[in-house]
Structure formats: C-alpha cells, structure tokens
Symmetry: none
Subunit: 285 residues, 4 copies
C-alpha cells in the first residue's frame, strides 16, 4: 500500500486547474507548502494502522491541489456571474424600450431603440464564450450561472422578432442574433424554449392594449401565432420540470387571447380585419 | 399540414441526440435555416406581418427536431438513471456487509465480503462512462443523475480503505478502485469530498462500538485521522453550498470522538495505547 | 466583590448612551483601560495564567457599562416604538377616511377629512427626529423600528396627492408634508419607494370602483400615471430585496388597470374621454 | 401646486450620492437624460388632473437621481462585501492555526502562527473604516454586511487572549488589537458580546482535549473564567434577539465544563492542581 501511495503522489503532481474537469488531463501543480502542521505531525510508528509520513504528505498535497482548483473554479464562477449581471442590465434597458409597445408607440421606433442593446449583448455573450473556453467540456457545470439571464434575452428577442415578422424566432436565428457559435458556446434548447414561454406570457397584455388602442385585428393574428406555437410545444415530451411548468402556463395565455378575440368578434369590431385574416388563413393552409 | 410534418420528420432523421450538446455541429439545422421565416418574409407578402407557409414549416421542423432531441436526451437520462439505480443497489449490499464492523466482526472478514461488490461497481461505472461517451462534453449536464450514488460509493470505499490502511483514500485512488479513466469519465472533486464527509459521519459510531468491544486504542487512532482530515478540509475555501454544510458537520464527528477518547482516558482505560500515543504527541510537539 | 461593583457603577455614571455609537468618544473606557488585564498580568503572578483581582474588576466594569448602554439603547427603542405606534394609529384614521373614496364620495370632502391627521403626523415625526437627535449617526441603527409605519404614511400621502394633482408626490414633497428636515431626520429613499409601490397597489381597486360609479375616463388617467411610474421605476437597478419584490407587484396593478381600460373601451363607454385620450396618444407618438 | 413642483425641482437639483444618508446635505447632481420616453409623453392638457410637462420632468429627474444613488449605494455595498470576504478568509487561516490547540500543541507556538493574521486583519478593518468614511453617519446602514465576520474575529481574538492571559479580552482591547479608532469606526457592542459567546462555545471542547492530554487543572481554570463571564452577562438586560439566544447557549458550555471538572475531581485526578487553584481563589476573592 505504501508504494501505491507514493505512486499516487507522483501521479497527482500532474494536476492543475483544468482538472476541475474530470474528463481532462491534469498538467503539473507546483507550490506546496513545506512546513504545514500536517507534515510535522507525522510520527514514525511501525505496523498497525498508523499511516506513514508519505501518507500525510499525499493527503496534504491533494488538499493543496483541491484548494487551488476550488479557488480557480470560484474565480471563474465570479467572472461568469459578473458578465451575467451585465447581460441582465442590458436586458433591462431592452425591456424598458419594448414596454413602450404597450402604449401603442409605433413598432419601428420601439424596435429601433430596443435593438441598440443587441451589439452589447453579442459582446457579452462572446465574453461568456471566451470564459467557458478556458474550461472545455464544462458548459453545463456553470450553465446555472447564466441560464436565467439567457432565457430572458431569448424572450425579448423573440418578441421583437415576432413584432417584425409575425413568426417565431427559431433557435438557430436566436443563436445568430447573439453571435453564438454553436460549435463552441451554443444556446441550450431548454433555455430557448423557456424564453419562448416567457414571450408567450407577454402576448395577452399586448393584445389587450392593442385592442384598447383600436387595433381590432391584433387578437386574431396573435391567436393564430399562439395556437401554432402551443401545438408545436405539445409535440414535445416534456419532463416534469421547470420547462413543463412554464409550458403549462402558455395555456392561460392562449385562453386570455381567445377571450379578447371573442370580445372583439361578438361586438362586430373585428369585421373588416376578419376578411383579410381569412384570406391569409387560406393562403397558409 | 400533415405532409409538412412528414417531411420534417424525414429531415430530422438525419439528427442524432448529439445535437443536444450546444457546442456540437448540427448540420441539418443549417440546411433548414435556408427556409427560415426571415428569408420567406423578405420575398413574401406585401408588408403585413402575416408569416408564410414556409415559416410554419420551419416552426414545425424545429419542434420536430426538438422532439427527437428531447426524446434522445430523455432516453439517455433513463439509461443513466437505470445504471445509477444498480449502483445504488450494489452500494446497499456493500454497506450491509460493512455494517458488521459495528458488531466487532474481524476486519479482514468484513472487508472481504464488502469488496465482492467492487467488481460490479467497476462494471457499472464503465457503463456510465460508455453512455456519457455518446454525448461528449455533457458530463455535467447529466451529473445530477449519478452524483448522489457516487458520493455514497466514495464514502464506503474510503471507510474500507481506512480500515485497511489507517489513511485517507485519495481522489486518484478512488478513481483507480472504480476503474475510472479521468481523461474520459472522472470522479468530480466535490463528489469525492462529500463522500469523505459522509465517511466521517460514520466514525463516531464506529469508535463507540469499538470501545464497547474493548478496543480502547481506537478513539486515539480515529481522532488523529479525523483531526488531520478536518485540518486539511479547512484549507479549502468552500462556497456556501452542500459541501460546506457537510463539512460543517464533520466538526461534530470530531467532537464526539474527542468525547469518547476523553471518557477512555479519564477512566485510565487507554493505559497501553496511551504510552504509544504520548510518544507520538512528543514526537509531534 | 460587592465594593468592586459599586466602584464600577460610580465610574460608569460618567457614561451616557451616546457610547452606544461606536463612532463616538468614550472617555471613561480609556481611563479604565489603564487597569486592564494585560497590564495587571505583566506585573502580576508568577507565570501561570490566572488573572488578578484587577482583571476581574475591569471585566465587571465593562459589563456594568454595557448594562447601562443596553438599557439606554433599550429605553430609546421603547420611546421610538411608542411614537411609531402613535404614527400607526394616526395612519389608520387617515386610511379610514381615504377608503370612502371607493364609495365615490366627493374627492374634496374625502381629502379634507384625511388631511386632518397631517398635523398630528408632523408632530409625531418631529418627536421621532428629536429622539434620534440624542444618538447622532445612528438613524439606521433604529430605522427598523419606524420604517414600516413610514412606508404606509408615504403611500397614503402619495394617494392623496395623486387625487389632488394627478401627479406623483415627490420625495422632497413627502419630506415637506411631514415637516422633516432632511439635514437632521430625512425620509429614507427606499421607504419612499416602497410607500409608492403600496400606493400603486390601491389603484386597480380605485379604478374598478370609479368605473362602477360611472367615471369612464378614470382608467385612462390612472393607466397613464401608472405606466409612467412603472417606467420610472424600471430605470432603477433594484437589488433582490423587499423593494424589488414590491416593484414586481406593480406590474400586476398595471395589467389590472389595462384590463379595466380595455373593458371600458371595447364597450364604447370611454367615448368622451376617448377623444381627449386619443389626442393625447397622438401627441405622444 | 405647480409652483410647488417647480421649486421641488430646483431643490432636488441639490442631490448626490451622499443623500443616501437622509440626514445629510445633498450637493448638486448633474447628468439627466434629456430624451427619455417620459418627457416625450408629456402632453399639454390644461385643467383637470392631467399633470404638466414640468411634472414629468421632475418625476424623471427624481428617479434619475435615485438611480445614481442606488447604484452608488450598491457599489459601496459590493466593496464592503469584498473586504468582508477577505476578513472571512484571514479568519479561516487564523482559525486553522488555533485548532491545533486541541491537539495539545504548545500554546506559544499556536498563538504565534495565529497572530500572523492580525496585521492583515488590521489592514482589512482599516479599509472597512475608509469605505464607511465615504458615507458618514451610515455605519449601521451597512453594518449587516460585516457584522457576522467581525463576530468571528472577536471570538478568535478573545480565545487567543484568554490562552495568553487567562482573562477576558475587553471591548476596548479588541478595538485596539484591530486598530480601530472608536471615534470613526468602532466595534459594535453586540458584535463584541456575540463574539464572546462564540468563544465560550469552544471552551468545553478545549477542556475535554486538555484533560485527555493530561492537564487536569484546566477544567478548574476554565470553569472559574466561564462562571465569571456568565455572571457578568447575566447583569445585562438582553432583548429577545440573536445575542440573547447565543447567551442562552453559554449555559450549556458552563454545564459541560462543570461535568468535566466533576469527572476529574471524582477520580482524584485534580488533587495537585486543586491546591494551587484554591490558593489562587483566595487571592482573588
């Protein structure tokens, strides 16, 4: 066993920060304190189960390595959190601009202001990618530190895209807008889907405010979009998790929009818009 | 509508669950993005925001792909869970054998029975490694599905190692015992450390039962080991998380063993071990 | 022993509760520290660590001082709590009067009754200021004892101000109404902001009751106010705390008012107000 | 009312970061965004309750000021937290060294190592003092961000002081050791007292380990110290709070030490130490 320990020591000399990744090689670590309390404690008893000096040294070395690795991992996490906070801040500005849509401000004007944050967003995500490049294969180890911010970004981009095109921002399009290279640092599918659910939560409010402002065709258009989206989501076999819960909420968005559409129809307010809509529907089916 | 779905399916047949990994290639998606809503919008309808047929097809295609990917991911997770359950089952058998140590059965006999599970353990971990090989770079995506079982395995192996050698099972030794290739599927450092904390939780009970059975030198030996281990852990800057909490518990194990050692000493029961112990103390001071 | 206590008391008579403030002078303590255990140790007993008589005296003296200080601090706190309870009582009366607004009583009448409490309020806050004047620099030490009551006062004053002027009660105006001298005892910004959030929570109910009573222009006016207020709050980078939570709630107030406005519009009830409103909308876009 | 608003604006121009302190003067704030969504919204309706352009501008100005103030306050808090984390880290090293006392290492050696952190401690506390100097009178606004770390520091210093002198580290002595200038940034009395309670929690373990190592006079000495300390605390009229709870725990420390003293006496182990102790007691009473 003693010899096993010794070989363990020489093996563990080949550690470093990258060994945080259990599937990576571990280049050498230097700097081990030579006068620690632990080594001085090692006595010389023979036989029985009293570990030797070599044992204490390997214990010490191992924890010294762990200390470095945990510190490296901690500082990496801090850097990620700091970028995530900047993403959150840029998202807040983008959201503020987008909120003006509820006051019936012209779409192009609202979009233009909101889009001003996209350049910064791309830069921030490129910094995230750069940081994770330092720890290859550990995207999911730190994923929890940026996922919530990313989901919000997706929801805003998707809302903007819908305002602009009337269609859903696809996953690849979202990656493109954020300047992500999926071979390196992609957009997690569940983050994308949760972001889409968040966007759906904003649609009933949008519809209500558009009708209030006199746009009686809006409910029909939103309802069509949301119905398709809901149907698409229903194809997915979602586990019993956060995404599932968010998707369950989409049902209520759909119902609310249906009610508004009903209000508009029953009062004959949608009369004109209706025709255009039905022509459209035929073109699509 | 149906035919759109069908063509989407045939396209996505070219997908494998590897696209779950956001840092991997996704060739079919890049092909698809040629028919994205953005392009179809540009060429399409006059002005209004009503998406075209092409748009709906890309929506469907995307969700069809997601369906495959989530199903692949789900079935992968099921396979991992199934292996993790087998690990848990083998661990239970190993634990049962080890519990006999509290009834003062001879150490070699107890260890022999417990070790019988190690072969199976190695096989199960090699199956885990094989499964994660299918999704490179996603170790931490599924880590939550085996980490708890792995921590328990580490705690048992470390206890057995301590019984055999009187020293701490090192991280590399644990990987070796489980037949892990750290370049491919290693033992996460925090899982290792949590496993060691679990082992520490068992020591007070062991000491109490050994003293009851007349082994009055046991408290001194365990106390020495636990003191060194506790000091080594204190070198680490632990975040305020699960590992931190487990480590905080080690303090109580230490105190309990100190109390037992105290009882033995104050009654003059540690007489023989005493001498050796004090020589040790002198050697250390 | 007794005499030691007595001399400690006479020494500490020179203390006032101002020494509670860690940034203030404490002359008697510096005098005492001449007889500290350190000095007595140096001159004293031969080697062992048994403290001298002088040591015990300084221990006693210190705790005797603490006793006075904690008692002073405690009685100060009681006086503050007693004023805070009176503020709470006056607030309740003011709130009772204001609630009549939901029964469509004329605004001037309602305001007149509510305003009767303002004189008492000013007096109570001037008593608070007087008490804290006794402990300069410790506003935030006792802040927890009046903040909740102050937030409610702000919410009522802001509601009254809105009824009267249609605009937000500013922070400086709130201080003015309460007769606060910001150089001495000001209104904490977070207390002000939380109070404003509380006021926002009352607006949906007000709008519903006004529409019930036939005031169909009320939703538009409240919506405009709340939208501006919400946008202003969004400029702030709120920490993840109580204020943040309260502000998150404002979103629901906004939505509820939007829904009422929608109901009124869709039924063509906002006809008259409508025109003014749309002129407004045009002026804004 | 309009004129009141206007004067409010000119008054609020005299704001700045220091106005976080409600009892301080507010020098001018510049930098107000001129093209915000809010100003553009201001219509020109006369009469009724529709606020004027001036109103919107003051609303905007106020929130712009708040934004700056909350950001300043947030960054101040971050700086404080960062120093507090460094204090925590230095405390951990100090604690590690002190733990060796439980392994019966010679007191002077243990103290020497632990004391090496004191220089760093002083520097860190001087940085804390420097930061709070930027916000005079707001010690207690940010107190929650360093109090827990400070309590631990006090407990370690007090334990070291007791090992060295056998007496309690007084409040002024603790301030002195940390290089605090009580006129500027003192040690809160409750933090001091809680730290002392923490120290008391470590004494039973110390006594147990000392007896185990053959120091049979230790229980008597610790018991005397703890009894005096407990009696001194009992003089205080503690509110029903954290300090009270910690003090209640001291009772159990006392009991445990009494039990160990009893064990030692009943076995005649304290015979020799006893005499010295009683002589001492006489000298002290």
């Amino acid at each position: 066993m003693k010899s096993a320990f010794r070989s363990a020591i020489s093996t563990t000399l080949a550690f470093s920060f990258r060994s945080l990744n259990p599937t990576r090689h571990r280049p050498p670590l230097t700097l081990l304190s030579k006068h620690s309390p632990l080594t001085s404690m090692a006595g010389g008893e023979s036989g029985t189960h009293v570990p030797s000096l070599a044992t204490f040294q390997s214990l010490e070395k191992q924890f010294e390595e762990f200390r470095h690795q945990l510190e490296d991992s901690g500082s990496l996490r801090e850097r990620i959190r700091s970028v995530a906070l900047e993403i959150e801040s840029a998202t807040r500005l983008m959201h503020s601009s987008l909120l003006l849509i509820h006051q019936s401000r012209p779409v192009p004007e609202v979009l233009e202001t909101a889009k001003r944050q996209i350049g910064l967003m791309r830069e921030l995500f490129s910094r995230l990618a750069e940081i994770t490049r330092e720890c290859p294969g550990q995207y999911y180890r730190y994923h929890g530190d940026w996922k919530s911010e990313t989901q919000t970004v997706v929801s805003l981009l998707a809302f903007m895209h819908w305002l602009e095109t009337g269609s859903l921002l696809l996953h690849t399009e979202a990656e493109e807008k954020l300047g992500l290279n999926p071979d390196e640092f992609g957009l997690d599918i569940e983050d994308y889907l949760i972001g889409i659910c968040f966007m759906s939560n904003d649609l009933p409010r949008y519809v209500v405010n558009q009708v209030t402002a006199g746009d009686y065709d809006c409910p029909r258009k939103v309802l069509k979009f949301l119905t398709d989206l809901h149907a698409a989501f229903r194809m997915l076999n979602l586990r019993n998790d956060f995404l599932r819960k968010k998707f369950d909420g989409m049902k209520y968005d759909l119902r609310r929009v249906e009610e508004v559409y009903y209000d508009v129809k029953i009062r004959g307010l949608a009369a004109n818009g209706e025709k255009t809509g039905e022509q459209n529907d035929q073109a699509q089916s």
